[in-house]
Symmetry: C2
Subunit: 462 residues, 2 copies
C-alpha cells in the first residue's frame, strides 16, 4: 500500500534524542523515523518523530518509559501502523516505541480456549495458530493480515464477526501493561468471569495508547463453528439494502456476518477484480450464519430480505461462500488503487442505516467528495470511504469538511463518531461535542491520574 513518506524536518530532534538515545534499542535513523511517522489514516504529519525504540522485550518498554518519564519526553506506542485515525502518527519532539518486534505467541491453551500473545503479533497469525486447535479469535478487522493485536486492543477493534461475537473487549481476558512511569500493571484475569476491583481491562482497551503500553494480552478463543451458511443479495440502491439489513434485525436473527456495500464500491471492486457485481444491482448485502442451526437461521434471513432484493445467491459450497466474502474483503484494496483512502467509521442505531446512507449521499453531493460506503450492518457501523489524491492529506479540504459532516450526520441519527477505529488525531476535534463537558473532564481526570506528566501519546483520543 502506498503510504507517502512525510518530508523530514531536521533540527528539531535534539531534546528527545539526548534523553532517550541511551536506550539500547534507540535509533534516530531517518528511514526508521519516517516509517514510524504515519499510519493508514490518510493523515500526513508535518514533521517526523525524533527517534524510534524498537522494543524486543517487556524490559525494553519498561526502560523506555522510565527514561521518558524521567525526562518528560512524549512517547507514541506503535504496533503494525495500520490504524485509521492517526492514533500512531508521530511528530517532532516525540519518540516512537515500536512494538512490532514483540511478536510471539507465548501460549495457547486449547482446553481453556485462551492464547497469551505479545502485542506485535498479527491478528491473522493468532487465528492461524488457533485454527490448529479448532479455535478462532473473533475480532477480525478488514486488516487482519497486517494489523497487530496491540493495535486492535488500542482501538477496541471490531470487524465482520463482531456482529455475533462482540468486539475486542469481549475477547480480551487480561493485559500486561507498562504504565507511564515504567511500573507493570496486570489487568483482568484468567477466568471468564471476575469482578475484583474496577474493570481496568476495559479501561485500557480502546484507550489508544494514552494510558499505558500493552506488552502482553490473554485472549479468549472460541470454538470454530460446526457449520456456516452464506447468502448474498443485490438491491436497486443502498437505501433499500439498508432497509433489508434493518429487516433482518427486526426479524431477530443473529447473523455472524452482515455486510453492506454500495454501488460505487461495487464498481471499484469490479474494476480491480474483473467481477461484475455492479451489473447485478446498486448495492450488495452479505450475510452469514453459523452454529448448529445456521441453515435454519439463513432461511429466516432470506425470507426477511426477499421483499427488498432484486436477486439472492445462496452459497452451495465453501468455495462459493468464500467468493462472496471475497467481494467484501476486496473493497478496501480496490479503493486503494484509486488513491489515498480515508476510511470513515460512524455508527448509528441499526434501524437508521438507510437514513445514514441517504445522508452520506447528500454529503457527497454538497462537498463534491466522492464517498464509497460499506457497513457492518448488524451493528449499525458504517465505513464511508473518501479517496483523495496520493499527495493530499485527508486533513485537507474538502475531505476534512466531509469528515465533519459525517460526524454530525451520525450525531443527528443518535449515533457516534467512531464505531471501531478510534479517535486518534483525526477525529479529536469532535470528541468534546459527542462526549460533553462532564464526560471529557472525567476522562481527562483519569488520564491525569495514570499519566500525570502526559507523556503517553499526547494530543490523541480524548
Amino acid at each position: 500500500m502506498p503510504i507517502k513518506t512525510p518530508s523530514d524536518t531536521p533540527g528539531v530532534t535534539a531534546g528527545a534524542a539526548t534523553s532517550l538515545a541511551g536506550h539500547p534499542r534507540y535509533t534516530s535513523d531517518a528511514d526508521a523515523r519516517a516509517a514510524a511517522a504515519t499510519d493508514r489514516s490518510g493523515y500526513i504529519p508535518p514533521t517526523l518523530p525524533d527517534g524510534v525504540i524498537r522494543a524486543r522485550s517487556v524490559d525494553d518498554v519498561v526502560e523506555a518509559l522510565r527514561l521518558a518519564h524521567a525526562h518528560a519526553i512524549p512517547v507514541v506506542p506503535r504496533g503494525a501502523g495500520t490504524g485509521l485515525a492517526g492514533g500512531a502518527s508521530a511528530h517532532a519532539g516525540e519518540v516512537v516505541v515500536d512494538l512490532s518486534g514483540m511478536n510471539r505467541i507465548l501460549a495457547i491453551d486449547p482446553v481453556e480456549m485462551t492464547a497469551v500473545v505479545e502485542p506485535g503479533v498479527l491478528n491473522a497469525e493468532v487465528n492461524a495458530a488457533a485454527a490448529e486447535y479448532g479455535l478462532f479469535y473473533a475480532p477480525d478487522p478488514a486488516s487482519t493480515a497486517i494489523c497487530s493485536i496491540g493495535g486492535n486492543i488500542a482501538t477496541n477493534a471490531g470487524g465482520m464477526w463482531c456482529a455475533k461475537y462482540g468486539v475486542t473487549r469481549e475477547s480480551v481476558l487480561g493485559l500486561r501493561v507498562v504504565l507511564a512511569d515504567g511500573r507493570i500493571l496486570r489487568t483482568g484475569r484468567a477466568t471468564i468471569k471476575g469482578v475484583t476491583g474496577y474493570d481496568l481491562n476495559a479501561l485500557f482497551i480502546g484507550s489508544e495508547g494514552t494510558l499505558g503500553v500493552v506488552v502482553e494480552a490473554t485472549l479468549r478463543l472460541r470454538p470454530r463453528p460446526v457449520r456456516t451458511e452464506t447468502v448474498a443479495a443485490y438491491f436497486p440502491d443502498i437505501e433499500t439494502a439498508g432497509r433489508a439489513a434493518s429487516a433482518i434485525t427486526a426479524a431477530r436473527i443473529q447473523p455472524s456476518i452482515l455486510e453492506l456495500m454500495d454501488g460505487p464500491t461495487l464498481e471499484a471492486v469490479d474494476e480491480a477484480e474483473g467481477t461484475c457485481h455492479r451489473e447485478l444491482g446498486g448495492a450488495f448485502l452479505l450475510a452469514q450464519t453459523d452454529g448448529y442451526g445456521a441453515h435454519l437461521e439463513l432461511d429466516e434471513i432470506a425470507r426477511a430480505i426477499s421483499p427488498y432484493a432484486t436477486s439472492t445467491h445462496r452459497a452451495a459450497s465453501a468455495e462459493e461462500a468464500e467468493a462472496l466474502v471475497k467481494a467484501r474483503r476486496d473493497a478496501i484494496p480496490a479503493l486503494e488503487r484509486l488513491g489515498r483512502v480515508s476510511i470513515g467509521d460512524i455508527a448509528v442505531p441499526r434501524n437508521r442505516l438507510a437514513e445514514a446512507f441517504a445522508g452520506l449521499e447528500d454529503i457527497s453531493a454538497q462537498t463534491g467528495v466522492r464517498i464509497f460506503s460499506v457497513a457492518h450492518a448488524a451493528d449499525g457501523n458504517l465505513h464511508p470511504m473518501i479517496v483523495v489524491e496520493p499527495h493530499e492529506s485527508i486533513t485537507d479540504r474538502p475531505a476534512k469538511a466531509a469528515l465533519g459532516d459525517m460526524f454530525h450526520l451520525a450525531q443527528r441519527l443518535g449515533g457516534t463518531l467512531t464505531g471501531e477505529h478510534g479517535v486518534g488525531l483525526l477525529k479529536r476535534e469532535w470528541v468534546g461535542e459527542e462526549l460533553g463537558e462532564t464526560s471529557r473532564a472525567v476522562q481527562q481526570a483519569i488520564k491525569a491520574a495514570l499519566d500525570p506528566s502526559g507523556i503517553l501519546n499526547p494530543a490523541k483520543a480524548i
Copy 2:
C-alpha cells in the same frame, strides 16, 4: 427472608444528620435506618447509618451528593438491598441514598431492542416488560425477583444465562451517573458499537457505588430464543459432575445454562420442597441450549456427559424443563430455611472445577463449617454457601476462616475471589492479595480522581 435488624447505636448520628437533614427526602427514622443498614451477605453491621435519603428523582440524588460533597458526609448508595458482599451495608456516620423508589421503566424500543430504566426497577420487572415484545434481558441473578438493576450494575451481576449471553457489562449500553460532587455524567451510547473516549461505562459497571450513583441505564435486550432444550443429569459425586461440566466445555458446545449442585444442596432442596433428587445421585447438572440448533447442541451435551452420569433426563415439554430449572432456583431459598446464608462466589478456570469442589470439601472438613455448593459451571463460577445461626454474623469465626480459605483455594487454581457478587465489605481484606500493589494503586488513583474526598461508599470494593 429473615434479616436480623442490627442493634441501634444512638448518639453517633449528629454529624450527618445536621448536614443532610435539610434534604427533602431525608429521614432519621430508626426503622428506616435499620432497614437500610444491611444486605443479604450475612454481615451484621455493628452500628446503624445516620439517616436515609429516599430518592425519587435524579434531582434528589444530585442534591444529596451536593450536600454530602459540601459537608464531606459519606454516602452509601442502595438499591433493593439484596447484595451478597456487604456492598450496601451502612454504618454510623454514613447516610444511605436509597434508590428503590426510582423504579420506573422509562422506555422500551422493540426495534433497537433497548430499554431505558431507573436503577430501582427490579431485574424481573425488566424481563416481564421485555417479554411483551418477545425480548429478554440476559443477566439473571438467582435473586431476579427481588434485586434491582442498579445493584446488578454496581456488582456487574451475572446469573445462569450469562454462560451464553455475558454478564451485566455485556447488556448495558449506557448509564447516567451522578458523580461525587453532584455533576451528571453520561457514559456509553445508544449504538451497539462505539469507541469515542475511554470505556467509562465498563468502569462504572462493577464499581460497587464507589465512583458514582447510577440514576438511569440503557439496557440491551435480546430476542427470546425460538427454541430451548433442557437436560438434567445425576452423578455419584460433585467431582464427577465437575468433570462432566468440563467435558461439555471441551466438546465446545455453548450451553445457555450449565448449572451444578452438590449432594448437601440437593438434600436441602428435597427437605424444603419434598422432592427426591438426592436419591438419584450425589450431584446434579442442569444444561440448557437455545436457538435454532438447540436440539442438536443438546444431543452433543448428552453425549459429552454420558460417561460420567448415572442417569440423564431430557425434558420432553416446557413444564418438565421448568421443573428441572426449579430444582436449581430452589437451592438458595432451601438453605435459607436452615439459617443465615452467606453465598461465596469464587471463579476458577473451567477445567479446574472438579479440583475446586474437592478443595471445598477439604475446607469444610478442616474448618468444621458445612458448605453447600452450586456453580455456574460454564464460567467456572462456584457459589459455596455457608449457613450460620440466625444470630451469627458471617464475619464471626469459623465462617470467616472458611471464606479466607475459599479465596486462597481459588487463587491456587488460577482463579478469583469473586465472579459476580462483588467485593463489598466482606472480601476486601483479600483484594490486595489478588490484585497486587500496582493494580490497587491504579484503582485508588482512579477513585481519588473521581471522588477526591472519598465520600462514595467508603471502605468498600477496592
